[in-house]
């Protein structure tokens, strides 16, 4: 048993660290720090995406034969940890983390040639069309219909909670292509050009005033059959592959640890109850990082990861919400500011009382409540843990 990095791993870490020191511009670090929403703003995300792509590290979690750098799980973790400590922006995840792997795994050669380069160079900005009003976490009850009409599907329905759809020019989407068979088997996976006639985006403002969520209305949208990924009826399988990727994949611990350390530096030293809360959050985050690392070390050794992987999103949500609530309390009255202008690092935002970090605290606090709701509520996480880890 050993927790130290191997010499090769240590050298890799130094290489990543040196790269970040040289290649991460201050305005991107600044913008990342002042992002109140759950997702990165496209201007920042795109710029950082291009820098990473130039270095060959953008699709660091893709396998080598799909164009990735061929990193091991521990290398990916080292990279993410260094990024978290350096304060890099997040990456637009719908494309790189969700539809990208679907394309290289299930796409035709034509689809790969068409979509993967544009995904990587940022020409395509993707949104995800899974959730529907009233369906919640229950994909089987999907109602958006796709009716075959020659070389096209005619798609009609409504998607909800579509993050950043207002920026997207492409939508990947689950649709019902066969209403007769068992619910899971009649679903297909389509790629839709957001510029198609019949696509309408309606914003859903968050309580914070941020605009991250949308409804997407699809009204007899014609989608070429060539835009279907996988076979007709294979949508359920693809969606499961995608969700597994979403839920596995990256680590939460390093970012939470870095964010808490930054808050401590900006708003500390804490006093009274805040000391206890900060200490407890730091411990929980340190434990989470190690819990995640245990899985990665197993993966690295070729051992299949156990049910432990199920706990990370639940814990991460709670730590995230704890940090963001701590910030509001630490900044006091100044933590109640919430300008209407966006983004917070933009030119139009009024000068803050205290600091920009105080100015962003309330927005962050409100937005972080989404962590325990989207992508499987904490209640669903607990039920899954009870069934698959505890064995009840």
């Amino acid at each position: 048993m050993d927790l130290a990095l191997s010499p090769a791993q240590a050298a890799f870490r130094d290489e990543v660290r040196a790269f970040l020191r040289d290649a991460l511009p201050e305005h991107l670090r600044h913008g990342a720090r002042l992002t109140s929403g759950v997702f990165v703003e496209p201007d920042i995300g795109r710029e950082w995406q291009a820098i990473l792509e130039a270095r060959g590290w953008l699709v660091y979690h893709w396998p080598r034969d799909a164009g990735g750098p061929g990193w091991t799980p521990i290398q990916r973790w080292i990279f993410e940890k260094e990024c978290a400590e350096a304060g890099t922006p997040a990456l637009p995840g719908m494309g790189l983390k969700l539809v990208g792997p679907v394309l290289y795994r299930f796409g035709t050669e034509t689809q790969k040639a068409e979509y993967l380069p544009k995904l990587r160079n940022g020409e395509h900005f993707w949104a995800q069309g899974f959730s529907e009003p009233g369906a919640g976490s229950d994909l089987a009850s999907l109602r958006t219909r796709a009716v075959r009409d020659g070389d096209h599907y005619v798609v009609t329905g409504q998607k909800i909670w579509t993050t950043q759809a207002q920026f997207a020019n492409r939508l990947f989407c689950l649709v019902r292509t066969d209403p007769e068979v068992k619910p899971q088997r009649g679903i297909s996976f389509l790629l839709i050009d957001m510029a198609s006639p019949g696509v309408t985006v309606r914003p859903i403002l968050s309580a914070s005033g941020d605009h991250e969520l949308n409804e997407v209305f699809l009204d007899e949208v014609r989608v070429p059959v060539a835009n279907r990924v996988g076979d007709e009826g294979q949508g359920w399988t693809i969606a499961k592959f995608l969700l597994d990727n979403e839920r596995g994949g990256s680590s939460f611990g390093p970012q939470l640890i870095a964010d808490l350390a930054r808050l401590r530096a900006l708003a500390g030293p804490f006093e009274g109850e805040l000391v206890t809360r900060a200490t407890r959050l730091a411990l929980e985050a340190e434990a989470l990082e190690m819990t995640e690392l245990r899985t990665l070390i197993e993966l690295e050794a070729g051992t299949p990861p156990g049910p432990r992987t199920l706990v990370t999103k639940l814990i991460a949500s709670e730590i995230r919400q704890g940090i963001d609530e701590l910030a509001v309390d630490a900044f006091g009255l100044a933590g109640l500011q919430l300008p209407a202008e966006r983004p917070f690092y933009g030119a139009d935002v009024p000068a803050p009382v205290g600091s920009r970090d105080a100015q962003i605290a309330a927005g962050r606090y409100l937005n972080s409540r989404a962590w325990s709701i989207f992508g499987g509520t904490s209640e669903i996480q607990l039920t899954v843990i009870a069934k698959n880890a505890v064995g009840l």
């Binding site: 959730s131 919640g136 976490s137 229950d138 909800i160 909670w161 859903i204 403002l205 968050s206 309580a207 005033g209 969520l213 009274g272 109850e273 805040l274 919400q321 609530e325 509001v328 309390d329 006091g332 009255l333 100044a334 933590g335 109640l336 500011q337 919430l338 300008p339 209407a340 009024p350 000068a351 009382v353 309330a362 927005g363 606090y365 409100l366 937005n367 409540r369 989404a370 325990s372 709701i373 989207f374 509520t377 904490s378 209640e379 607990l382």
Partner: protein, 338 residues
């Protein structure tokens, strides 16, 4: 011991509720301050003079009356400067001000004409005639006609007209959509108020009690909206309110709300010499419960809970602000412990 509201109190609550029912609905509640005309109308109904001391021409309403009004405001999420303007500033001037000061500032407050704001923090210097320096965030500061400015170490307070030469203010939008101000004084002539630190603390306690009642009102609305939602929302073929985990969560909200209401009632009804401690205790309890309740209400609403579209999201914002005013729960607990 008696907890039955008097006939007058019942009438008062009904009046405010009816007034707000015509104006506040689930689509607009909690989006920001109520229109200035509505505030004026509340003044014309006599609500503010009802709460102010008889010495200033008011009707001498007690804390328990203020609580009834404030809770109704909270229930319909009508965002107003009631606590700061009427209870804190006008209340203090009415009790400690000169006849001239009362005539100049309290009368227009009673009619709903003036909003007064309280500046309790920042870096202020006062040389006996002029103010210099800058306040911290002053709630409702952009709308205020005048400020009650606490002097350093709370060695009394002074009155400053918002129109005074040398006074400038910068708007600061808060999470509940109200616009506060940072106020800067450059040799601004100030009108001293004969108020001790204890006078100030008492006036603050009365205001803070009103914000506690507002929290209780908003918590009640969020609780009711959440119970409605989980009874209607179906998943896997049944109402989510039939799931045991959801039931226990809702039961916890009921418990929290009852306990919070108890603290508010006690703070409203204790003898005046226990008021400051008891309001602090109630704040320490309720401000915490309010955020826990808002967070759970959000969670139980699922995706809709984090949006601006339902009262729950806006109520959450309002509770975030109310719970942090006057130092919030942290400062209240620290004061209790010391």
């Amino acid at each position: 011991m008696d907890l039955t509201p008097s006939d007058e109190q019942v009438m008062l609550g009904d009046m405010v509720r009816r007034f707000l029912a015509d104006r506040q609905n689930t689509a607009n509640m909690g989006r920001g301050p109520i229109p200035r005309d509505d505030w004026r109308a509340l003044g014309e109904l006599g609500l503010f003079s009802f709460l102010l001391p008889e010495t200033a021409g008011g009707m001498g309403g007690r804390p328990q009356d203020a609580v009834i009004i404030a809770e109704e405001l909270g229930r319909s999420m009508a965002i107003t400067p009631l606590a700061e303007t009427v209870l804190l500033c006008a209340g203090l001037i009415a009790r400690r001000g000169s006849a001239g000061q009362i005539a100049r500032w309290v009368q227009p407050v009673m009619q709903g004409e003036y909003i007064l704001a309280y500046a309790g923090g920042g870096a202020i210097r006062y040389d006996g005639a002029c103010l210099d320096g800058q306040t911290h965030i002053v709630q409702h500061g952009m709308d205020a006609s005048a400020f009650v400015v606490a002097l350093p170490e709370r060695q009394g307070a002074v009155l400053v007209s918002a129109a005074a030469d040398g006074l400038t203010r910068t708007p600061v939008r808060l999470a509940d959509g109200t616009v506060a101000a940072e106020v800067r004084f450059d040799a601004v002539a100030a009108d001293p108020l004969e108020a001790t630190a204890n006078d100030l603390d008492t006036a603050i306690a009365h205001a803070e009690l009103a914000t506690i009642a507002e929290m209780i009102g908003t918590m009640t609305t969020l609780y009711e909206q959440t119970v409605d939602y989980i009874q209607q929302r179906r998943q896997f073929g049944v109402a989510i309110g039939s799931f045991q985990v959801i039931q226990h969560r809702a039961a916890r909200l009921f418990v929290m709300l009852e306990q919070s209401r108890s603290m508010m009632l006690k703070a409203a009804l204790v003898e005046e010499d226990e008021r400051i401690r008891m309001v602090t205790a109630a704040k320490a309890y309720v401000a915490d419960a309010a955020l826990r309740l808002a967070q759970d209400a959000t969670q139980l609403h699922g995706g809709m809970g984090v949006t601006d579209e339902l009262p729950v999201g806006r109520g959450h914002r309002r509770l975030l602000v109310l719970s942090h005013l006057f130092g919030g729960a942290l400062a209240a607990r620290a004061r209790l412990a010391s």
